[in-house]
Point group: C2
Chain length 332, copies 2
């Protein structure tokens, strides 16, 4: 029996974000679907980069952002994801370790570069992501550290991993190890286009082994092929053990153990950049659950962390979230 | 006779900033002089990076920041500085071109990496810089494009260049070309430690050929080896044709043509990161002078640009400065 050393272990793509501003016309010209993530090849990311304005480089990656958020809240988190032995790989590795997240995946030498995502922020604060996966596609079962999984109360998997057959196998292997050790498995659906690509498999996972499901409104309605949020919520209440559904300005809905909680957003004075809103909501919620808080408090921790992240550029917290949570009386 | 195509041409180190937060104790432990720039070797920057918190990467470099500021104000600017053929070099080149600054210096292949500066921001918003020059030391006279100099109304040189003998030669060559073409030469003293290293040469330049001098209070008092600002101001009023002296919260003093103008700072709601305050003051002032504004208006443009830059992380403007200047009635 392995002792639990981490509250949450995240498995996902190790990405450095390049964040720049653009107008809606730039998105249209380059066929980038506003508010979504699309996978692009090296040539496309290079063309987009040439055309966009000045950028800021900051570590990202959906599950990685969530693990940094959990650490910022005072939780113990770890991350598995693949970087290359290059400048962006060193940036990613430094930043996640400097945020007190355990990260020990070996960099790959001399192959594809570290994954990067061009994040285009429009004047309304919405972000549109263009991700070149690079070396992230190298994550395979060999990277999945069984001891680390058994040492983590919850493992958290990003749906984006399903876009790569080898990572999908790693994903399933991680779930199997976690389940057999009595650990919980959390999943985020990541993006509605990602859901369209892998609907049947996601549904099977949710019915089978997922303990905590995260999705936003467009993802959950895509999953159940409906335009109506309440219809989708009705389905997920039957299929999932526990689900946290985010609805942008409408807040979030938590469904589990026959309960339904509606959690408002935490207002912000200015929406600067929505990058990471979902990732940080998941951080707050998972931290709450992992540390024994009730569903409503966990949801409020999610709203709080999301509000902090959208009030500045980048998807990593600019201030210690643990202090914010104490100020609000959400933690003691 | 070459036509003037640029208002200002900057010559300086091409640097990518890695900005992170730390406390005063971290600076003390690592011997970093608070509020100053020090040159460090590759080993030292690596040690500092390992110990510091998560970072944000954003293009920087003193004269480069100034050129981006001038462009943001609507001016025509160009930049000469050396990058390597690496990821940071591509970031620097992209960002400065995306800001509409002409930049054509050829990257150096396969030698030292692109210059980077670890900028440690303390809770008071003050920044302390640790710069590894890398390939920047390769800037030599071969890089100085005589046509570009003749095509620029003002050339702007950063004092930091004096820390490298080869760059110093390039610096002098650029001055000679500018002067013989009837162009103006502007110089910033960059840092008081830099002034200590090159006092006699700076004084000779100011008496000889510099048309516009920029210095902050610690730099100008270091130059004249006095603790008293007014004493230093008295000296510089005699030695320099035109000087703009910045005094942090006390605003700036402009001395030239027998006039003295005291320009207040523009208040900010929060001092987030002082990186680039001097660079952007110079941008506003040079833009004002180059476009025929009087000394006082030029100083106010400097205060405005500095205020914008210290209200966010990084030394490149987050909003178009031309719009701010119009809103304030400084430009039409």
């Amino acid at each position: 029996m392995t002792d639990i050393r981490y509250d949450v272990l995240g498995i996902g793509n190790a990405i450095v974000d390049i964040i720049g501003r653009c107008d809606d016309a730039f998105l249209a010209t380059h066929g980038a679907p506003k508010g979504h993530m699309r996978l692009v090849d090296e040539q496309t990311i290079s063309t987009l980069y040439s055309g966009m304005g000045p950028g800021i480089e900051i570590s990202g990656g959906s599950a990685a952002n969530t693990m940094v958020g959990i650490s910022s809240l005072g939780g113990r988190s770890a991350f598995i994801g693949k970087v290359a032995d290059d400048e962006f790989g060193r940036i990613f590795s430094h930043d996640i370790r400097a945020a007190n997240v355990a990260f020990a995946t070996t960099p790959t030498v001399g192959k594809l570069p570290t994954s990067r995502s061009l994040i285009l922020v429009t004047p309304d604060g919405e972000r549109t992501m263009n991700t070149f996966l690079g070396v992230s596609t190298d994550l395979d079962q060999g990277e999945i550290d069984a001891d680390l999984i058994r040492a983590s109360a919850i493992i958290y998997l990003e749906g984006y991993l399903f876009d790569r057959p080898d990572a999908k196998a790693a994903f399933r292997e991680a779930m199997r190890i976690a389940k057999s050790a009595g650990r919980k498995v959390a999943l985020t659906l990541s993006d509605s286009f990602c859901v369209d690509r892998h609907r049947a498999e996601f549904l099977a996972l949710i019915n089978d082994g997922v303990d905590i499901l995260f999705a936003n409104e467009s993802e959950i309605t895509a999953l159940y092929e409906t335009n109506d949020f309440e219809t989708a919520a009705g389905h997920v209440a039957r299929d999932a053990r526990l689900a946290a559904l985010t609805r942008s300005a409408k807040g979030s809905v938590i469904l589990g153990s026959g309960e339904r909680h509606e959690i408002p957003i935490e207002p912000v004075s200015e929406l600067v950049d929505s990058t990471g809103a979902g990732d940080l909501y998941a951080a707050g919620f998972l931290y709450g659950i992992a540390t024994g808080h009730d569903l409503s408090t966990s949801g409020h921790l999610g709203s709080m962390a999301a509000a902090e992240i959208i009030s500045h550029v980048g998807a990593r917290p600019a201030v210690p979230l643990a202090e914010l949570a104490k100020l609000r009386g959400l933690t003691s």
